[in-house]
Subunit: 273 residues, 3 copies
């Protein structure tokens, strides 16, 4: 049950090392605390190996990458691999610039990721590879819909198989998949797209879930996606007429803070394919 | 009408590239989403040209500049000029340090800005030029008041003419001017000064308005100033006795999220000189 | 009385230069505005000396240090010493990595700090010195409790004497001490640990209090700790059942914004040893 994954996070208080963008970093930290984890941020190459060594997992987000932090990502990722810590990649903006695409592609080559989590456009960029037509079939549409769900599920399983990672594609419908099994998740609200960084927040949250559930990584990843979407639904219910996206941001994090296993088990909307 | 400018932003969803400080960047992103735009942040020199190329406009804010981001500002600004994208300069702290003053002055020399937006002290520094007494007459007082309004309007028109940019001076009374026409705007609340980054937020918002209203740049800039000030008034009405500046920040962004053309047209307080 | 320290901050509007981490920097800025101060952030080595020169005090926080900002910390700290400005060190993560420990230890060697503020683990690391067993006796427990209070008070006084700085150890019980006198403070709520950066916020707040109360530095430091803890208590009273750590963050800053001398004098819970 997904609720067990949540309880394991609250019980184990996973310490998560985040190399993440400066836009949404405060929210990522507060989401990690809200879910029962604990955050540390460090991107300096001289610092990251020590920091990742005292943590349980590593969250790499390339949102405001720079030449120094890119070095930090590779060093931390390799150290985390050595220590068998779960490592998550959030390839923010892959496809939007050569530096972002190349960095994400090279990270995947040199580091073994437990999860790669992004939107459909970012994941398609990675599946195709940098500037080549090789890689898995990425003839998937630009959004996962009920109409193209079958081909999207095939795409995500293929890329999971090829990359060796769990792949999470988030959008109106979320897919969380390894080579064999795909969770199709229908939690969430469209208004979440009006808040900066709900994706970044999910990446932090998911890393905590991976650390606390080493024997159920796929389920843990799916649980974290349900938590985020369900928090978006609960937070929306608490909105008043004068509230907007800034208050909604707070309401979502608050809902993660207050969520328990029972609420998650009852509110999670998913099927397994 | 200013309301048309607002509607054009909601219709066109302008993508804005921000090179901005790490203090207020999250609020800038949420304000851009609130008004109907979409934010991307990138300051790495190897990344900025690609990012600015996929955007509609560029917002350069020197609030926590560093040697790398300064390079990024020049590269992105030149690329945006090549592509005829609107470019805004927010010269945070010009006059407070040699690096900030020099950077702002050199940016104005090498890049054609659509708008320069700052407080009276920053704009005076730029009008005088770095360490020289040349430039337009900057014998304007340290705040724009009803008493010195005539000379302030003359000052802002002169600097707009000299710089070739629309110039926006924000404070208790806001001035938005090109060489010929000056909007004098009286929206806003003094308590907005107790929140970090309302100026930075306005710069992001204004850039979105410029992108979505290419044929009415002056009116678009003035509209965005009215939106910000009016949101400050609406947000203040929603405050309760135990609320303070942190909740007020949320309330202002919420009010931008909920604002429509009719509210703006009715609430905007300005005259044209 | 502590209330006088608060009133001096509101009267003098101290301008505080912060070299601080990008995780919690926005909250630090809003807390400084809430208490009546004014924040500037700058970490670029070419910028920091000018910025610190126009400020009244300097807050150095090593939370997301990098090679450039470390240089900035030394340059700014030395300039602030030259100008006799109060300087505070927040050694975030000292003990967690070699870079952080070394940086904090070297900062203490080369810069005269007015206050060193951290949690017990960070302060113990500094008291022991980097990788040596020299320094004051650090055989203090991992948390300050009613049971080990006597030895903790002795420890903090010893380190204050050795370092020449006021030392503030914050946790469930807070200690603020010079070589002779120790304030033992019992304000605050355990839920404050579920918000990122309450320690960073306190460091910014405390620096403002030091600047505005140059003749009562120890009392000013203690007053700021009481303000933060009391704001945590007041903010908690304003929480509703659906609220969580994100709203609590806003409530605490709001409470600082609304706090007056009378509220502080009545709500502060401390003894002097």
């Amino acid at each position: 049950m997904l609720g067990n994954c949540l309880e394991n996070v609250r019980k184990n208080v996973p310490l998560v090392h985040n190399i993440t963008n400066y836009v949404t970093v405060n929210d990522v930290a507060n989401v990690l605390l809200a879910c029962g984890g604990s955050p540390i941020m460090s991107d300096e190459p001289l610092d990251v190996e020590d920091i990742t060594s005292i943590c349980g997992g590593l969250n790499i987000n390339i949102g405001t990458l720079n030449q120094s932090s890119i070095k930090g990502m590779f060093l931390a990722g390799k150290k985390a691999n050595e220590l068998n810590h779960p490592v998550l990649l959030d390839p923010v903006g892959a496809g939007a610039s050569k530096l972002r695409t190349d960095t994400a592609v090279n990270l995947i080559k040199e580091i073994k990721f437990t999860v790669i989590r992004g939107n459909i456009s970012e994941i398609k960029t990675l599946a195709l590879g940098s500037g080549t037509t090789k890689g898995v079939d990425a003839d998937v549409a630009d959004a996962v819909t009920e109409e193209n769900l079958d081909s999207a599920v095939k795409f995500v399983k293929d890329f999971a198989k090829k990359s060796g990672a769990i792949v999470a594609i988030t959008g109106a419908i979320d897919l969380v998949s390894d080579a064999d099994t795909c969770y199709v998740i229908r939690n969430g609200r469209p208004e979440m797209g009006k808040i900066t960084g709900t994706g970044c927040q999910l990446s932090g949250l998911m890393t905590a879930y991976l650390v606390a559930n080493p024997d159920n990584l796929l389920e843990a990843a799916a649980a974290s996606v349900c938590v985020m979407g369900l928090a978006g639904e609960i937070g929306w219910k608490n909105m008043k007429s004068e509230d907007g996206n800034s208050t909604y941001r707070n309401r979502i994090i608050d809902a993660i803070y207050n969520m328990d296993a029972d609420t998650l088990n009852k509110g999670a909307k998913y099927e397994v394919r």
